[in-house]
């Protein structure tokens, strides 16, 4: 389900249930879901098989502060 389709359906359902005040919260959730789906840790069926090495993404441990 695309986020646009989900948001439209969710707002309609909330209004049907008498909860129109949910709309701005659902819009906030939609923005968070957009960010979540855009994260680079997501696996996709049409891409390479998932890696499971457990290694972090190149931690940048910098130099000494003091």
């Amino acid at each position: 389900m695309t986020i646009d389709a989900w948001l439209t359906a969710a707002i309609a359902d909330a209004e049907r249930r008498g909860l129109p005040e949910l709309k701005p919260l659902l819009e906030t959730l939609a923005r968070a879901t957009t960010a979540l789906r855009a994260a680079d840790f997501n696996d996709h069926a049409n891409a390479d098989s998932p890696g499971r090495s457990g290694s972090p993404s190149g931690l940048g441990a910098g130099g000494s502060l003091r």
């Binding site: 968070a32 979540l36 931690l59 502060l65």
Partner: protein
């Protein structure tokens, strides 16, 4: 107000009794609870009986350990047998706990005296304590300010000298945020260490139980009692020379009040002067923290509340009800993505700690906010209060690492600031050793003892 360590020494030297100190706590409750609303229920008669029994036991040679006879308050999210567990909600009207939560049973076995159940943000679903069926809890440092949340009544009770320690819960920061806002110590142990049996859940996968106390040593004593190790003494602090701390810049310093930042940098300077070595590091994927947290906590909470939301929606406070309703719209595929993100973030923090004893960062980006404020100015920006209060604590609920908040001084207006130390997973004792060593440098300077704030 005595620390638990001081109380224990004086109790065993026969200089004080549990009954005397419990009576003093009850007097403070009677004097200040109408102003602070820290307690939902005060169990004065039971507390006096428990304290007298503790004194009798000690006189007869039975010493239950460091918590013997210590007056403690309990967040009203945890079951204490024979008492209602309200979760600060009318949804729970009529409930009476038939048994103690596992953690509370351990405290009882350790000889703790229970003075009452403390106020909280309804169902622990908020950071300010403003949404409670029993009214707003207030900050002893400034009653026009929030004590933080969700364990706000708990933190206020210790800061105001109504108890020597308190038990809170922490799903996104609900121990550390109010500890920071009220100027006391708050420990979130490693995920899964302290049983959450008998605790009303917010998120069964993010919830933690832990202590709020006046000192790190006291936090260690209560933490071990919660585990069932009632006779353990505080660990020996690490020598500061050789301690290596990592400061995660970027996300963790992007939204930060100037005075909170100043108190943090002063603490860094003092620790450095005492021999601590610092490295600046970067933790990746920090942009994913809030989306990951939100999808997990909303879906977990919605699953628990779905039935009550259908049957008795009017019994919730309006704000909590509507946020719980939001969770009912999280899709399963996005929950799974959030769980995957949680694994990634956990590995990032593990790696950040691989060559350090702890991470060091502020606990709460702002001083305690004014009650009723929806937004707060941070630098030149206006930020939503809830988002900014969760910003620096929720990462370690997602990852499960133990974290402790230690007071680091006051703003010019007299509001507490705090520093957070984060340790390796399942190594809470190692974190406590670092915290014990760092505490005198972090908390240096004049700072009001509990019971001497407000008034």
């Amino acid at each position: 107000m005595l620390t638990i360590e001081e109380f224990g020494s004086r109790l065993r030297a026969r200089e004080v009794t549990s009954a005397q100190v419990t009576h003093e706590c009850l007097q403070r409750i009677e004097a200040d609870n109408s102003r602070l609303n820290a307690f939902i229920r005060v169990t004065a008669d039971d507390a006096r009986r428990q304290a007298e029994e503790a004194d009798r036991e000690l006189a007869a040679g039975r010493d239950r350990g460091p918590l013997h006879g210590v007056p403690i308050s309990i967040k009203d999210l945890l079951d204490v047998r024979g008492l209602p567990t309200t979760a600060a909600s009318h949804v729970r009207d009529g409930h009476v706990a038939s048994r103690d939560a596992t953690s509370i049973a351990h405290l009882r076995q350790a000889g703790a005296v229970f003075v009452g159940k403390t106020n909280l943000h309804e169902f622990a679903f908020g950071t300010t304590n403003e949404d409670s069926a029993f009214g707003v809890a207030r900050n002893p440092h400034d009653p026009s300010r929030s004590p933080g949340g969700s364990s706000g009544g708990s933190a206020a009770s210790v800061a105001a000298g109504m108890a020597l320690a308190t038990i809170g819960t922490d799903t996104g920061g609900s121990i550390r945020i109010p500890a920071a806002a009220c100027g006391i110590v708050g420990l979130k142990p490693s995920l899964g260490e302290v049983s959450i049996d008998g605790c009303v859940p917010l998120s069964g996968t993010l919830d933690h139980i832990g202590p709020l106390t006046q000192t790190v040593a006291d936090a260690s004593l209560v933490y071990h009692a919660l585990l069932g190790d009632g006779h353990v003494t505080p660990p020996v602090p690490l020598p500061l020379h050789g301690v290596r701390l990592a400061i995660p810049r970027g996300y963790f310093f992007d939204v930060l009040d100037d005075e909170v930042k100043a108190r943090f940098e002063e603490a860094v300077g003092r620790l450095h002067g005492a021999g601590v070595r610092f490295d600046e590091i970067e933790i990746h994927h920090t942009a994913d923290i809030a989306p990951v947290y939100l999808h997990i906590v909303l879906a977990d909470a919605a699953a628990y509340h779905a039935s009550a939301l259908e049957m008795m929606p009017e019994r919730y406070t309006a704000n909590v009800r509507i946020r719980l309703e939001m969770g009912r719209y999280v899709l399963a595929e996005d929950y799974v993505r959030a769980l995957a993100g949680r694994d990634v973030l956990r590995r990032e923090v593990d790696a950040a700690l691989a060559q350090h004893d702890a991470l060091m960062l502020p606990t709460l980006p702002i001083p305690a906010p004014t009650i009723g404020a929806a937004t707060v100015a941070v630098g030149s920006k206006s930020e939503p209060v809830r988002n900014v209060m969760l910003r620096l604590t929720q990462p370690f609920n997602v990852t499960g690492h133990p974290a402790i908040s230690i007071p680091s001084g006051l703003t010019a207006a007299g509001l507490p600031c705090a520093v957070q130390l984060v340790g390796c997973r399942m190594q809470t004792d190692a974190l406590l050793k670092v915290a014990l060593a760092c505490e005198p440098q972090i908390a240096a300077g004049p700072f009001p003892r509990s019971g001497n704030v407000g008034g």
